[in-house]
């Protein structure tokens, strides 16, 4: 046995493929998570510190009283304690009277924009977040709206946002790690059945062509099924070969022995007339042997073809026509004519023309040889599927022999100068290769029918 070459160009390993896909998915997911975490962190930090800000502003607004007809702000310590919960941030504030003048606080605070509770600004070189709160007064000596503006630098916000983001990213990172580990585990465990199949096949004896019976998950089940079909085909072909070799040796032994006997007789015969008669018999025998060899080779070819050739979409009627053309009527002693019985419409089927023609020719030969006229070669389209076959008026094969007709005649009848008896075996092999059967029938009108029943072109019969 020659060393086995590298079986197939090696594609990217399954694990690598999975890893790449997973990495891409995780990278995209990670990016999305990071962006989301950052956005969420910023939002959460903004919201929390905005609450502090507005809380402080409300406290300041609440501390305003009207004294001597003017607003008086008693700046509450609590408000600043609230603000100093953002421990690293500077504070600016101002209270504006109805006229827009600063009552107290930082003069640098500009009067706030209309309509926005929170807004951004700058305070001596740093960005700040500001809030405005309004309080309306309707006192005897003072009426109008007093506006409180409180602002704070954004250091704590940024820090909190970063903390939240970092927390989320840490969690995402851990999840990422866990997913990776799980993925490795999943890849390993899902590849394990393949290893099992490999081991099971490796451990087999050379002759063992039984189907693989390893428990595998559904995803690999189809692969195993395909493999099993392949093995089955191999098994069938090996069996066919074996049968063929056995048949061939059996069938060739007898005529060759007969030839040898005739030849020995001829060697001892002195009478030229009788010698001539022996020579004529030797010639007949040799011709019969030649036909037999043809048929045997044909049989082997057809059987091999049937198993190997791709099935085409063909019209069964052309098969019938070709079979009728190639049937050599003179060979048959009955001298009967072959009538073609074809439908008007095409009869489509999936098949290999050559082997079907060969099978049909064999059926026709049988009918012409053993049947009684009129002999018909017919093609039918039935709901169960297309059929091709022959019918005659003779008694045909006894019903008891139908089940093993294909093999029976090849073995039992021995060989005659005219026929090797392989016709039915070929027809049956071709029918099987097409997913159909070789069937016999006795129509109600009498006579005998042998036909190959094919599955409909769309599916199984």
């Amino acid at each position: 046995m020659s060393p086995i070459p590298d079986p197939a160009p090696r594609a990217l390993s399954l694990a690598a493929r999975l890893a790449a896909t997973l990495a891409a998915v995780l990278a995209l997911g990670g990016l999305a998570v990071a962006l989301a975490a950052f956005a969420y962190g910023r939002h959460a930090a903004q919201e929390s510190y905005d609450r502090l800000l507005i809380g402080a502003a409300n406290q300041i607004a609440g501390s305003i009283t009207i004294r001597d007809g003017a607003p008086l702000v008693e700046l509450p310590v609590a408000a600043f304690q609230l603000l100093s919960l953002a421990p690293q941030d500077r504070i600016t504030y101002a209270v504006f009277g109805p006229d827009g003048a600063v009552i107290t606080g930082y003069d640098s605070v500009r009067s706030p924009p209309k309509g926005e509770t929170f807004y951004n600004g700058r305070f001596t070189g740093e960005p700040i977040r500001l809030v405005q709160v309004h309080r309306r007064f309707a006192e005897r000596h003072f009426s109008g709206t007093v506006t409180v503006v409180v602002g704070q630098t954004t250091r704590s916000r940024a820090e909190l946002a970063w903390q939240i983001t970092r927390g989320a990213l840490t969690a995402a990172g851990l999840a990422w790690l866990v997913i990776c580990l799980l993925a490795v585990f999943a890849v390993r465990s899902s590849l394990r059945p393949l290893r099992r199949i490999e081991r099971a096949l490796g451990a087999r004896a050379a002759q063992d062509l039984t189907p693989i019976s390893v428990a595998v998950p559904a995803e690999i089940g189809s692969l195993v099924a395909t493999l099993n079909r392949f093995i089955a085909r191999l098994d069938r072909q090996v069996a066919t070969m074996r049968t063929l070799i056995a048949d061939t040796s059996h069938q060739l032994r007898t005529p060759i022995a007969a030839l040898r006997v005739q030849a020995e007789l001829a060697a001892e015969e002195q009478d030229p007339d009788r010698l001539r008669g022996i020579l004529a018999r030797i010639h007949d025998r040799a011709a019969g042997l030649g036909r037999l060899t043809d048929q045997l080779l044909n049989h082997a070819l057809i059987i091999h073809r049937a198993d190997a050739a791709a099935l085409d979409r063909i019209d069964l009627r052309t098969v019938a026509i070709r079979a009728a053309e190639e049937t050599d009527h003179d060979l048959f002693s009955t001298g009967a004519e072959l009538e073609l019985d074809l439908p008007e419409e095409a009869v489509p089927c999936l098949g290999d023309t050559l082997s079907l023609v060969e099978a049909t020719k064999n059926l026709a030969g049988n009918a012409l040889r053993y049947g009684r006229a009129p002999v018909r070669l017919f093609v039918r389209a039935t709901p169960a599927g297309p059929e091709i076959g022959t019918a005659d008026r003779g008694p045909g094969i006894p019903e008891a022999h139908w089940p093993d007709a294909a093999t029976r005649y090849a073995r039992k009848t021995g060989v005659s100068p005219k026929s090797a008896g392989l016709g039915l075996a070929i027809a049956a092999a071709v029918a099987r290769a097409h997913g159909g059967t070789l069937a016999f029938a006795r129509p109600a009108a009498g006579g005998f029918e042998a036909a190959i029943l094919l599955p409909p072109p769309g599916g199984r019969r």
Partner: protein
């Protein structure tokens, strides 16, 4: 003519604003006097006498670095720093003030720069804000009295004792209790404002001060001098560092940390945003926080341990209570006392208490 008069009036009106001249009260110099490699300008409210040892130690530890020290009043110091912040006044390299609220405001207004080091990182949260202002001392706000003039039975140990002494109609303490003038002294204002936040005692105290015509005057040194000379019997809210320093040389002076609560001040140092040598200033800050610096500050009572202050007391139980200490944390909460209206109200209350004739008996 009229125009000239108006101008004159305007000038006169403008006068009070510029009343305090922006100049140091005293200056000192440490380290090499000629051709120093680096020179550092420090402005502070601490008396030179108390601060000299630590600066001298710093100069010795950093040969080649000259340190100039200017002693300022707290309000002018703040004003100068605020002006220096916008480039309208020569800038210092380090500002150390006992009026920590003003220091915090300078930081809040962006007039300082951060300094990062292991020493400042080790500071507790109360003594550092934004890595820009650092509490370097620990000084209690105390009462002092003259033991030759105040009999032991009447010696005050708390604000309640002080209130009791002032309660009788013809108390001999009337008019002889002194405290800071909060308008003249930033530290006095800070203490008074902190008191007002701490307890309701403050209201009663203010009322008692008003009724007995207590004296509001300027500056620790003057107040303590007055107690030693016997002009005042008791002084309230005096800075412990000065009192302890004087008590060491004047046995009749008794220092009392109030037993109801004791305010604890940490003088705050900051490096101005426009400082010429921030690295040198940072080095000085680190030195002040170093063991050597702590020792030098402790020697002049700028760092006072709680046991030290409570141990000096006659009837005190000696060092029980750090819980009585009320540190004044360096945080933006201090800005409240400096609010324009809040301050105006507080000072109005103060003026009402001490009357228009808030006399300051300054004796040189």
């Amino acid at each position: 003519m009229i125009r000239a008069l108006v101008l004159l009036l305007a000038l006169l009106a403008a006068q009070p604003a510029a009343a305090a001249p922006l100049a140091p009260e005293a200056t000192a110099h440490y380290g090499p006097t000629t051709a120093p490699l680096r020179s550092l300008l420090v402005r502070g409210t601490t008396d030179i006498a108390l601060f000299a040892p630590v600066l001298r130690a710093f100069a010795e530890a950093n040969p080649g670095m000259a340190v100039g020290y200017e002693q300022w009043g707290s309000n002018p110091l703040y004003e100068a720093a605020a002006k220096a912040c916008t480039g309208r006044f020569p800038v210092a390299d380090l500002i150390i003030s006992s009026a920590v609220d003003q220091q915090v405001k300078l930081v809040n207004d962006g007039c300082s720069q951060p300094h990062h080091s292991a020493a400042v990182a080790a500071l507790p949260d109360d003594l550092i804000w934004r890595d820009e202002v650092f509490g370097i001392t620990r000084e209690p706000a105390v009462m002092v009295y003259n033991r030759t003039l105040v009999p032991p039975g009447e010696a005050p140990h708390s604000r309640f004792d002080l209130l009791d002494l002032l309660r009788p109609e013809h108390s001999r303490y009337a008019g002889r209790v002194a405290t800071y003038d909060i308008e003249a002294s930033g530290l006095g204002y800070l203490f008074a404002f902190a008191d007002s936040e701490q307890a309701t005692t403050f209201g009663q105290l203010i009322e008692a001060f008003g009724r007995t015509r207590a004296v509001a005057t300027c500056c620790s040194a003057e107040i303590i001098d007055g107690v030693i000379s016997g002009r005042y019997l008791i002084a309230y809210n005096v800075l412990g560092s000065y009192a302890l320093e004087r008590a060491a040389h004047n046995p009749e002076l008794v220092v009392v940390a109030p037993e109801d609560y004791t305010l604890m001040l940490s003088r705050a140092a900051l490096i101005p945003s426009r400082a010429k040598d921030p690295a040198g200033a940072g080095r000085l800050v680190d030195f002040l926080l170093s063991p050597a610096g702590r020792r030098a500050l402790s020697a002049t009572h700028l760092i006072v341990s709680p046991s030290e202050i409570y141990a000096t007391q006659a009837g005190g139980d000696g060092g029980t209570g750090t819980s009585l200490l009320r540190p004044i944390p360096l945080s933006p909460v201090l800005l409240v006392g400096l609010d324009r209206q809040r301050r105006a109200q507080f000072i109005a209350l103060w003026r009402k208490t001490f009357g228009e004739d808030k006399t300051t008996f300054v004796e040189k």
